[in-house]
């Protein structure tokens, strides 16, 4: 078992910044990520052997390379390809690596595991060819692949334009962009977005590319169905109001073999939940979020949480919040003089406050729209791991389920390998309608493994004699 001063889980902008700041202050830092190289979702590196054409390399690719170089040049102990499945004590981290299960321990832990996608189900959403909008960014970045020959891109927020532009650049066709927001919503966001001219410019670049490709954009629309059975063939869309509720207006059908769709992001705070840190429902952060101070300190001593895993805000706030936690960890460990940490933290804090203005505008575009959940049909699957439909969830609520873990027991919703990452938001929103609020509905209790792991990888080779079987139970 390797002993360190600080363990950081997740090597996106948040985790990498935390690791670098703490390491510069002299802490022995281990940085773990299930991906082979640092970068996270936004700066995901293409796998070895896949070269990206130089003309498609943009600001994200350059920032990712810089992040990877910084980690490589630092004293941070980098562990790539390490899927963390268990965290216990204060703190022992177990990860499945090429070598089986490896353990690490440190008195401090930074959780920087990023966000999940929110996806409100509709008939046909489990059809092959339908993928998440954020997942599409991974496909495009890490595999250099377009989702299909002809893709509908739907949902909300800036990922719409990012994904559509990347598909066009990658040689695919975009049948249409279906945006939950209206032009007015985007106009309202513009002043705040102007606080980040670089990102605004990036967005305008995407818009121009899409305009040049004559991609139709339907504002205030949503996908109501995907047809095709074995594979996506057509996508039906219809107009909606500001809350995402169909207005009853004329629907349209687009022929497409792929749909990339996402309805915003939710903080992936499995680690704070697993460690029983206090949480609060924060709609503006994307959902249930760990309670934390300005440096990311949680209610559990020694635990920090940063980036989109703590509150969805995007890459730059993730980096800055990570840096703040790295500084705090070093200071809490008695390795960084208070005046130095105060100065450095002050700068990061000011930059973070500025960056959060932009993030706030984006989050409003990507906000949850509970009305969409209300509209889900009775026989639409909510939990795809366990095939639980809306009707079964409603029946369980009628049978007396009053809290999300009880609902899980009544229906198996959230019991599958994704552990509720896909269905949790929908199930809790449905329950909240009956019990009054998301607070009353609660959240799934955190359980290991943090990611599903094949037993063969976890257990390695062993002899019967090596198994430490305890003493027999009483007769």
């Amino acid at each position: 078992m390797m002993q360190a001063d600080l363990i950081v889980i997740g090597a996106g902008p948040a985790g990498a910044a935390a690791a670098l700041a703490a390491s510069e202050a002299g802490l022995l830092v281990v940085l773990l990520d299930e991906d082979a190289s640092p970068g996270g979702q936004v700066y995901r590196a293409p796998p070895a052997g896949l070269s990206v054409a130089p003309d498609t390399r943009g600001a994200d690719e350059r920032a990712g390379d810089a992040l990877r170089e910084a980690v490589a040049a630092s004293a941070v102990v980098w562990k790539g390809g390490a899927r963390v499945w268990s965290i216990s004590g204060a703190f022992r981290v177990d990860a499945v690596t090429a070598a089986g299960s490896e353990s690490f321990t440190a008195p401090r832990l930074v959780a920087a595991t990023g966000a999940h996608e929110r996806l409100v189900p509709f008939p046909g959403w489990t059809t092959p060819g339908v993928i998440g909008l954020a997942a599409a960014t991974i496909l495009l970045k890490s595999q250099g692949m377009v989702p299909g020959r002809r893709t509908v891109v739907a949902g909300c927020g800036p990922l719409l334009a990012a994904v559509a532009a990347k598909i066009v650049a990658g040689g695919g066709a975009v049948a249409a962009i279906i945006d939950l927001s209206g032009p007015g919503d985007w106009l309202k966001a513009l002043p705040a977005m102007a606080s980040r001219p670089d990102l605004l410019r990036q967005g305008l670049g995407w818009a121009l590319k899409l305009g040049a490709a004559c991609v139709p954009v339907l504002f205030r629309h949503t996908v109501t169905a995907v047809s095709g059975g074995e594979a996506c063939e057509a996508v039906t869309v219809a107009p909606v109001d500001a809350e995402g509720r169909p207005t009853g207006g004329r629907s349209r059908v687009f022929a497409a073999d792929a749909l990339a769709i996402g309805h915003g992001l939710v903080p992936g705070s499995e680690i704070p939940k697993l460690l029983r840190a206090e949480h609060r429902f924060e709609p503006e952060a994307g959902g249930w979020a760990p309670v934390r101070d300005a440096f990311g300190r949680c209610s559990v001593a020694g635990l920090y949480t940063v980036g989109d895993g703590a509150a969805v805000a995007g890459a730059e706030p993730a980096r800055l919040s990570g840096r703040l936690a790295g500084l705090a960890a070093a200071q809490d460990a008695g390795r960084l003089p208070a005046h130095v940490s105060a100065r450095e933290a002050g700068e990061a804090r000011a930059a973070l406050d500025k960056a959060l203005v932009f993030a706030g505008a984006i989050n409003r575009l990507m906000r949850a729209r509970p009305a969409m959940v209300e509209e889900i049909a009775k026989d639409t699957v909510i939990c795809r791991c366990e095939d639980v439909r809306r009707g079964e969830i409603e029946a369980a609520i009628s049978a007396g389920a009053r809290e999300i873990n009880q609902l899980k027991h009544f229906t198996r919703c959230g019991m599958g390998p994704c552990q509720g990452r896909m269905c949790g938001e929908t199930a809790a929103t449905l329950l909240a309608r009956h019990v009054g609020s998301r607070e009353a509905a609660g959240y799934w209790t955190g359980r290991p493994p943090l990611r599903p792991v094949p037993l063969a990888d976890l257990l390695g080779e062993f002899d019967y004699g090596d198994i430490p079987v305890p003493n027999p139970a009483p007769l």
Binding site: S88, G400, K408, G416, P449, V453, P454, L459, P468, N471
Partner: protein, 389 residues
């Protein structure tokens, strides 16, 4: 002041819920208090195994009766708890385990469990998924499992139908004795009842303290692991001689791996932490028994709290010195036997003669007057039959 209930039960696990069900059906005005949701502690997070091969010898007769109850749950409970009746095997992989298995299976057989010792070949005919290295197996035809997570839903409906005043999300903070019964303290004020049953699982120690009685209750933190849904890899309940494995595949495809390997936790925090080595040890044992499991992915693991008295026999019967107060819990493999033992207590509360003896707690109380020979009380642990009430 409203008329008092005939019966108040504190704790909505399998024990409290079953007592409530039978008493309410017999016409008692019954109120059940549960701090959280019904059957969401031990009674909802356990491995659901209904096996004689892990049951303590003294409880075999009870477990057999209870097994029959589970198998017919649809009739008497009226709702499905996903019960599957199937064969069960307990395996020996080493010479020491062969001895252990022969001894233990023999004792359980004497107590009435239909267990036969069979060769590896015969065991493989029963369970084709078995791995290599089995030296001997114990085969029991009365075995099976329920879906523990369905217990709350099934009992919830049954209790409501029986007219029980079911109060979930209602922690009880204390109980006071008063003229003609008890005042049960809740945040919404006291609720009065003529009779009281404490059925608080590992929290029985605190509950007994409300009545000024010291009853030490040990807390076991049992870990469980479950795989994602996979194609069939086994059809029986599989354990090992020491009792430290319980393994079966549910009809929907998940495989639950248990056997009482210990995690960390306590009464205050619950089963908060899994111990990776012991989780891995438990899963290795499972894959050694059923090798095809190696290809499954681990989807979820958790720990729950199981209660144990000093002699590891149940606490089920009247509370000494306090008329009309009863205790029900600390039953080893209590999910299997719970419904029967709780039904016996219901018979007693209803003034009938229980069909089998209860397990009164006099033997466990450290009262200097009551027990001049504490060693005798401790000594009744294993095979000795409990006395009639």
């Amino acid at each position: 002041m409203s008329t008092p209930f005939d019966l108040a039960i504190v704790g909505g696990g399998i024990h409290g819920a079953t007592v409530a069900l039978f008493c309410a059906r017999a016409g008692m005005r019954t109120v059940l208090f549960e701090r959280g949701s019904l059957c969401r502690e031990a009674s909802g997070v356990n491995a659901g195994t209904l096996t004689m091969q892990m049951t303590r010898v003294a409880l075999i007769p009870y477990a057999l009766q209870a097994h029959a109850m589970w198998a017919s749950a649809r009739e008497w409970l009226g709702h499905d708890a996903g019960v599957v009746v199937c064969d069960g095997l307990s395996l020996a992989f080493t010479q020491r385990e062969v001895e252990l298995l022969s001894f233990r299976a023999g004792k359980r057989r004497e107590a009435g469990a239909p267990i036969d010792l069979v060769t590896a070949t015969a065991a493989r005919a029963v369970e084709p998924g078995l791995g290599e290295g089995v030296l001997l197996a114990a085969h029991c035809k009365v075995d099976g499992y329920a879906n523990a997570y369905l217990t709350g839903q099934a009992y919830h409906a049954a209790l409501i139908e029986a007219g029980v005043d079911l109060r979930e999300e209602t922690p009880v903070s204390g109980v006071e004795r008063e003229e003609g019964g008890f005042a049960v303290q809740t945040a919404a004020g006291p609720v009065r009842a003529k009779r009281l049953v404490l059925a608080g699982g590992v929290w029985l120690e605190e509950m007994m303290a409300w009545l000024g009685i010291t009853l030490p209750i040990k807390v076991l933190v049992n870990q469980l692991a479950v795989t994602e849904r996979v194609a069939p890899v086994m059809r029986t309940v599989v354990g090992i001689a020491s009792g430290l494995l319980s393994l079966k595949q549910y009809p929907h495809g998940t495989v639950v791996i248990g056997g009482g390997w210990q995690g960390r936790g306590d009464r205050q925090r619950g089963g908060v932490e899994l111990v990776p080595e012991s989780l891995i040890g438990n899963m290795r044992l499972a894959c050694h028994a059923i090798p095809a499991l190696r290809h499954a992915r681990l989807a979820r693991a958790w720990a729950g709290l199981e209660a144990e008295t000093a002699d590891a026999l149940p606490a089920a019967g009247p509370i000494p010195g306090i008329p009309d107060a009863y205790i029900c819990g600390s039953v080893h493999s209590g999910y299997t036997s719970g419904p029967y033992i709780a039904r016996l207590l219901a018979q007693r509360i209803l003034g009938q003669e229980p069909a089998d003896p209860l397990f009164p707690i006099d033997r466990l109380l450290a009262s200097p007057a009551a027990s001049p020979t504490p060693s005798a009380a401790a000594g009744r642990a294993t095979d000795e039959q409990p006395q009639h009430v």
